[in-house]
């Protein structure tokens, strides 16, 4: 939903890093996007390509790794991905805050990130 503004922030952050190291060119940016964000990787890529034009980032590769949502069970201590309920009436699997192991209530501990993990640049 906010791919344009978020990608603008990503690009300006990378440009600042590149400038502070006097990089000639940025080759690659690795990004992690959490399952619980409302960022569509396709659209992030689209805006990235448009926004890097004419900068040292032009032609760089954007690698997006999608991170699964992570929950912790308050009852049994389970840590892992969400339980998805598959309801044939809806034809979709939807996430729930029920523990996949014990049926207790889980809390969300990860999956809301949009992290610039790594940048490769030529100095």
């Amino acid at each position: 939903m906010h791919e344009y503004s978020v990608t603008t922030q990503i690009v300006s952050k990378v440009l600042r890093e590149a400038e502070s190291r006097r990089a000639k060119r940025v080759l690659e940016v690795k990004l992690q996007i959490g399952e619980l964000t409302f960022l569509n990787p396709e659209q992030v890529k689209f805006w990235y390509k448009a926004l890097v034009k004419g900068t040292v980032m032009e032609g760089s590769k954007l690698i997006i790794q999608e991170k699964r949502g992570l929950v912790r069970c308050l009852k049994c201590g389970y840590e892992g991905s969400f339980k998805y309920e598959d309801d044939p009436a809806y034809h979709i699997a939807f996430p729930t805050l029920l523990c996949p192991k014990c049926g207790g209530v889980v809390e969300i501990i990860g999956g809301r990130e949009c992290i610039i993990e790594n940048i490769k640049m030529v100095v």
């Binding site: 939903m1 906010h2 978020v6 922030q9 990503i10 952050k13 890093e17 190291r21 990089a23 000639k24 080759l27 619980l36 964000t37 409302f38 309920e85 309801d87 809806y90 979709i92 939807f94 996430p95 729930t96 805050l97 029920l98 209530v105 969300i108 809301r112 990130e113 949009c114 992290i115 610039i116 993990e117 790594n118 940048i119 490769k120 640049m121 030529v122 100095v123």
Partner: protein, 227 residues
């Protein structure tokens, strides 16, 4: 020991740098949200988010809660809208402070806008703030504001599948309100089915059915918020 020029580690011309950054772009909003939360706590002010679709009854629910809580709390309302002060005026008729937050074209409030609105208030004169977000079931979930509790309201006029279609915002809710139950038959929507969807997605949340226009269920919403 002296440092000789040859000891300096330098990047060679054309060398590739691999920089670990681990910078979270969405962190900026969360940081301001935490500042808001700390500020509210310092003044002992409770803040409640009210989120839901356009026309789901957010303002009407807030009006209903104000009527019942006015005697016990000094209330302020932040009223998020793209434009206009219509709703803020409706709210201020109840004798509470209403601050319109116009986002321009943004589809949600963010922590910085709420921070600016908080600066407009004398927090010593307020006990409770309702923060009504822009009508939207998607974007507000991405931007925490620093509140204590979150209400997500859905109405039967949005159809039978609204909760299941937008699971993520309902996961963040402390209280889920199913509104306009008086229209359920006309809309052919099963309120109990909506309630089950809400409970399946978020077993932690309290689910309350309301007809906010007539004040039905509003007291239960207040109890669910522990107010």
């Amino acid at each position: 020991m002296t440092v000789k020029p040859g000891d300096v580690v330098r990047a060679e011309e054309g060398e590739i740098y691999d920089i670990e950054l681990e910078a979270d772009i969405l962190e900026a909003n969360r940081r301001i949200a935490e500042e808001n939360r700390a500020l509210l706590r310092r003044y002992n002010v409770k803040a409640i988010d009210v989120m839901g679709s356009i026309g789901s009854g957010k303002t009407t629910l807030i009006e209903g809660m104000i009527k019942l809580l006015k005697g016990r709390y000094r209330i302020a309302v932040f009223k998020g809208d793209l434009t206009t002060t219509i709703d803020a005026e409706i709210i201020s008729r109840h004798g509470v402070k209403a601050i319109p937050i116009n986002t321009g074209k943004e589809c949600h409030l963010d922590a910085n806008l709420v921070k600016k609105a908080l600066n407009r208030l004398n927090l010593e004169e307020v006990d409770l703030i309702f923060i009504e977000n822009v009508g939207n079931l998607i974007c507000p979930a991405e931007f925490p504001l620093g509140s204590d509790k979150r209400i997500v309201i859905v109405s039967v006029t949005e159809g039978p599948y609204m909760i299941i279609k937008h699971p993520y915002i309902f996961m963040d809710a402390d209280v889920i309100v199913i509104n306009k139950i008086d229209l359920a038959d006309a809309m052919r929507v099963d309120v109990e089915k909506l309630r089950m969807d809400a409970e399946r997605i978020n077993p932690r949340a309290k689910v309350v059915a309301t007809d906010c226009r007539r004040g039905v269920g509003v007291r239960e919403v207040i109890e669910a918020l522990n107010l």
